[in-house]
């Protein structure tokens, strides 16, 4: 097996035993990036020199016998997570030359373990989109089929993990932006509970929905990366001060699913345009879990039909305010052809932001405007409360919810660019978890007839990530779907 195809867990044991050095592993990953990047376009920046320095430091630490779980592991990071001294562009012209003077809390945590950062990954601009076509710099290709989108907005992260261009990656999920690309690229992606992972240094899209999470090639790897970044952070007032469960040892002990209640939401079967392959894979997954001893129960999430509408009011509203700081005054792009203040603002933001970002800023500004606030933002907030209650009621009847991630496998590049509404509607299975603040995971559950990966989504009650990871691990061990790799 090539070194770049190692799981984090496998690489970890080789690094700790001395069988493999971090520099060797990092060189292999950098070589892989060089080889396939022209065909995949997953990275916005590759930080080869820094990566090798970090790898050398990791080797020194390993030599002292002080290695942590991620010491020497080459990782990629979505380009809206701030990295000190390394450009953080959010895939936007407006931050093209922005170099943060600080690390996000998650980066500090990875550095504390001497993990190796190999580069910053492509995405939809400011995480707004589900295809990674809305990047100002490049269109990332799906490693399984280069004519297909990798999903989004963490498309670069998912494609890089699938194509062996890093051993694991960080993404962010506001309405499905980790789970949906993980599904399209055949990797594991976890959106943690709201408040579980610090948002400090994550460039905000919609502050009440955003969470950072891992994308990996196995559930065990996902647990390793999750535990490294999770936990209370005083710099983020919305992070929650409660202990992170040790799901890794639970995984190691072998998982028993007997008696676990798996909820099947009735409303999700009624979604228009559900691809037959996706429907079949989802049913097969429910059967597999039943065979493993779980009990399937039907549950109802009655406010599901209102979720997309509520989300596309709340998220753009928060975005319209969060993105106000990109005004050309302090940092980033400025339209220098204009002299007056208002003209400079208008010029900077019109030329700095792409069409999808501008569309959402306008949507959000409208929703918050006086005279419309109650009908839009106010109403959407009420719907959000109802959706949260739907999940609370469902989790009284079941331990995990089972659902598709996306209605279809990865679409063709260019297909949805001119139809934003179709793109928004495809978020139906994922965005409710963000509205409700609950954790969700996407794991590979087979391939479509066209050979494209299909993801299975599991969701659990707030802060029950351990439950998700153990259930997902049992499924993975029973099916081995995650072992399928694309030929790049």
């Amino acid at each position: 097996m090539d070194l770049h195809e190692l799981t984090i867990a496998a690489a970890q044991s080789k690094l700790h035993s001395g069988e493999l050095s971090a520099v060797e592993l990092t060189r292999a990953v950098l070589a892989r990036i060089e080889a396939v990047e022209p065909r995949i376009d997953a990275y916005i920046s590759v930080t080869g020199d820094t990566a090798l320095e970090m790898a050398a430091a990791a080797d020194a630490r390993l030599a002292r016998g002080e290695g942590a779980p991620l010491t020497g592991i080459p990782l990629g990071v979505k380009d809206l997570i701030c990295t000190a001294g390394i450009p953080t562009t959010c895939a936007s012209r407006i931050l093209e030359n922005f170099v943060p003077p600080y690390d996000a809390t998650v980066i500090q945590r990875l550095k504390a373990q001497d993990a190796v950062l190999v580069g910053k990954l492509n995405m939809d601009e400011f995480a707004m989109g589900s295809t990674t076509e809305h990047s100002a710099f490049k269109v990332t290709r799906n490693p399984w089929n280069r004519d297909r989108i990798p999903g989004g907005s963490s498309g670069g992260s998912a494609a890089a993990v699938a194509a062996g261009m890093c051993l694991g990656a960080l993404g962010s999920d506001t309405g499905g932006s980790i789970r949906q690309p993980a599904s399209h690229c055949g990797v594991v992606g976890l959106k943690p509970s709201y408040g579980r992972v610090s948002r400090y240094g994550l460039v905000a899209f919609a502050s009440s929905l955003d969470q950072i999470g891992p994308l990996t090639r196995s559930v065990t790897d996902c647990a390793i990366l999750f535990e490294a970044i999770a936990g209370y952070d005083p710099s983020d007032s919305t992070s929650v001060n409660r202990p992170v469960p040790d799901s890794l040892s639970a995984l190691a002990d072998g998982v028993d699913l007997r008696g676990v209640r798996v909820g099947l939401p009735l409303e999700y079967h009624r979604v228009d345009g559900l691809d037959p392959d996706v429907a079949a894979a989802t049913s097969a997954a429910a059967e597999t879990l039943t065979e493993l001893g779980a009990v399937c129960v039907e549950v109802s999430l009655p406010h599901t039909p209102y979720a997309v509408a509520a989300y596309y009011v709340i998220a753009p509203s928060e975005a319209s305010s969060n993105l106000a700081r990109y005004d050309g005054v302090k940092y980033g792009h400025r339209d220098t052809t204009k002299t007056g203040l208002m003209e400079m603002y208008r010029g900077t933001r019109s030329t700095g932001f792409g069409a999808e970002v501008q569309r959402r800023i306008i949507l959000g500004t409208y929703s918050l405007s006086s005279g419309y606030y109650d009908a839009y933002y106010g109403k959407a907030s009420q719907v959000r409360t109802l959706i949260r209650r739907d999940f609370e009621a469902a989790f009284e009847q079941c331990d995990v919810l089972l659902a598709p991630v996306a209605p279809t496998p990865a679409g063709r590049i260019g297909e949805s660019v001119d139809d934003p509404l179709a793109m928004y509607l495809s978020d139906i299975f994922t965005l409710s978890a963000n509205l409700a603040g609950i954790p969700g995971i996407s794991i590979p559950c087979g391939l479509s007839k066209e050979g494209l990966p299909i993801g299975l989504q599991l969701m659990a009650a707030p802060f029950e990530e351990a439950r998700l990871l153990t259930t997902a691990r049992a499924f993975e061990q029973a099916t081995h779907h995650h072992e399928a790799r694309p030929a790049v």
């Binding site: 809206l80 997570i81 701030c82 953080t88 959010c90 931050l95 922005f98 943060p100 003077p101 600080y102 996000a104 948002r199 400090y200 240094g201 994550l202 460039v203 905000a204 919609a206 502050s207 009440s208 005083p234 710099s235 983020d236 007032s237 919305t238 509203s317 928060e318 319209s320 305010s321 993105l323 106000a324 700081r325 990109y326 005004d327 005054v329 302090k330 940092y331 002299t339 203040l341 603002y345 500004t365 918050l368 405007s369 006086s370 606030y373 933002y377």
Partner: protein, 487 residues
């Protein structure tokens, strides 16, 4: 037609915390531009605010001191607008759910507006406080005089402010002034702010309208901004009332608008519509969780409150037997009240202490432009001066000279009296000899005095005092002269 004036005030007071409201940067004034900044107050991508607990503590004290209802749960909201001094493109403030509401404070008013239920009470008036909330300050633009360039200084960005909104309860510019002074006095007593209008740590906007006397409906109001001193607040309101009156008497209507006070021209001018037409798109800030204040916190804050001006004033009347006026002047600031109490503690002469502090001392400080804290005369020395007068060691007249000397040298009155030989002469024999001499030197005046011209008594006292360089005890001089006349 007779009109009634209606005034409501919005005050922004800077809170004297060491660090800013949402980051650890210093709040210190001055400093080279953009040196008291960090990624958080610079509004860089991805950073998050963390509320400074001291800001809540200070605001809570103010809310309790003004009898507000404290919200058990309040929220921060974003006020969205674009301006280069606002790095995030929004200001974090409180909107729908402020920390405190429904408070009040009492101001002293002219005696013709007596409290009807208690005619003996001091004439005071209760002014309602609608709400108090916390927010962050914006930065500062520095405009280049020579080129069309503006520079941005973000040192002030994120400095904590407390906004206090009054009910439209004031009926004259004087009441508005009294309200502001009272508010400032409470802030200073609590030690939570400087209350300095000229330096901008205490800012005020006034909402002004007028209506025909007897009407129960408010007229259209205007909001006046740029009021940078107590004097200007009253002046601007007077101007605005006159302006509105003229409009109404002409049969026209007042336009609801924001007007800027121009202190040089002594008038208010309408702000251009464009600057005014803001839709701030307030919504709850998702980066900050609701602020929860429990009973224990409120109780602890209440416990930590110092004696406030109204209580202190009542105690001064009661304990020191002072007239209400004296008590009011002496408790206007905590420093002055402390100075007074220290003086009285040493000399046990409450009324003379009040007279000397309100008269000579405040006169001196005013003339020198000094605060009471910087007084060249210590309470200790002033008390000793009063004791010297009380014991008859020096006369009141000589005491003025000693006081002036104390102000210059900072020496104790005892030292000055000893060094200059200013001690009062109370030796009856010595004074009697001088009286005899004066009597002998002015036979004509003696004759006229004896004929019944009592006015000449003053002349003889003056002559004796002149011969003793003012040191003779005036009581003894008077006594001896009376005896002489009776002989």
């Amino acid at each position: 037609m007779q009109f009634e004036t209606i005034i409501g005030l919005e005050v922004h007071a800077q809170l004297k915390t060491r660090t800013k409201i949402f980051c650890g940067c210093s709040t210190q004034f001055g400093g080279p531009p953009n040196t008291h900044t960090c990624p958080v107050c610079l509004g860089m991508p991805g950073v998050l605010p963390v509320l400074n607990r001291q800001v809540v503590e200070y605001t809570l004290r103010m809310a309790l001191a003004t009898h507000c209802t404290i919200a058990r749960e309040s929220r921060f909201a974003r006020k969205n607008y674009f301006y280069p001094d606002l790095p995030k493109g929004y200001q974090i403030s409180q909107y729908e759910l402020p920390i405190a509401e429904h408070g009040h404070l009492d101001i002293a008013v002219e005696s013709d507006s007596k409290n009807e239920s208690d005619p003996d009470a001091e004439p005071t008036k209760r002014i309602g406080i609608t709400r108090i909330h916390m927010e962050e300050d914006a930065g500062k633009l520095i405009h280049d005089d020579r080129r069309p360039v503006s520079r941005v200084d973000l040192n002030r960005t994120g400095v904590p402010l407390m906004e206090i909104v009054s009910e439209p309860d004031m009926r004259s510019p004087a009441e508005a002034g009294a309200y502001l002074r009272k508010l400032r006095s409470i802030i200073r007593y609590l030690g939570i702010g400087d209350g300095n209008m000229e330096e901008g740590s205490f800012r005020c906007d006034a909402n002004v309208s007028i209506r025909p006397v007897g009407s129960d409906r408010f007229g259209t109001r205007t909001e006046i901004k740029n009021l940078n001193s107590f004097k200007n607040v009253e002046k601007a309101i007077r101007y605005e009332v006159a302006r509105q009156r003229e409009i109404l008497l002409d049969g026209a209507s007042v336009i609801q608008e924001t007007r800027l006070w121009d202190p040089a021209a002594g008038r208010t001018n309408a702000m251009r519509g464009k600057e005014e037409a803001h839709d701030y798109r307030y919504f709850p800030d998702p980066d900050l969780v609701p602020l929860v204040i429990d009973e224990a916190w409120i109780a602890a804050a209440r416990q930590a409150l110092p004696e406030l001006p109204d209580d202190k004033r009542a105690r001064f009347i009661d304990q020191h037997g002072l007239p209400a006026y004296d008590a009011g002047v002496l408790t206007a600031s905590r420093d002055l009240a402390d100075y007074y109490e220290e003086t009285v503690k040493r000399c046990q002469l409450p009324k003379p202490a009040s007279n000397w502090i309100m008269g000579s001392l405040l006169g001196l400080l005013n003339a020198e432009g000094l605060t009471i804290a910087a007084s060249p005369i210590s309470p200790h020395n002033l008390a000793d001066l009063l004791t010297l007068i009380d014991r008859g060691t020096i006369s009141g007249k000589i005491a003025k000279t000693v006081f002036e000397e104390m102000a210059v040298s900072g020496n104790s009155p005892q030292e000055i009296v000893a060094a200059k030989g200013l001690e009062q002469v109370s030796d009856t024999d010595a004074i009697a000899a001088i009286v005899d001499q004066v009597w002998a030197d002015h036979p004509d005046e003696v004759a006229r005095l004896k004929a019944g011209n009592q006015k000449l008594m003053g002349f003889f006292v003056g002559q004796v005092m002149r011969s003793t360089k003012g040191k003779a005890n005036p009581k003894i001089v008077n006594q001896l002269l009376a005896q002489k006349l009776a002989q």
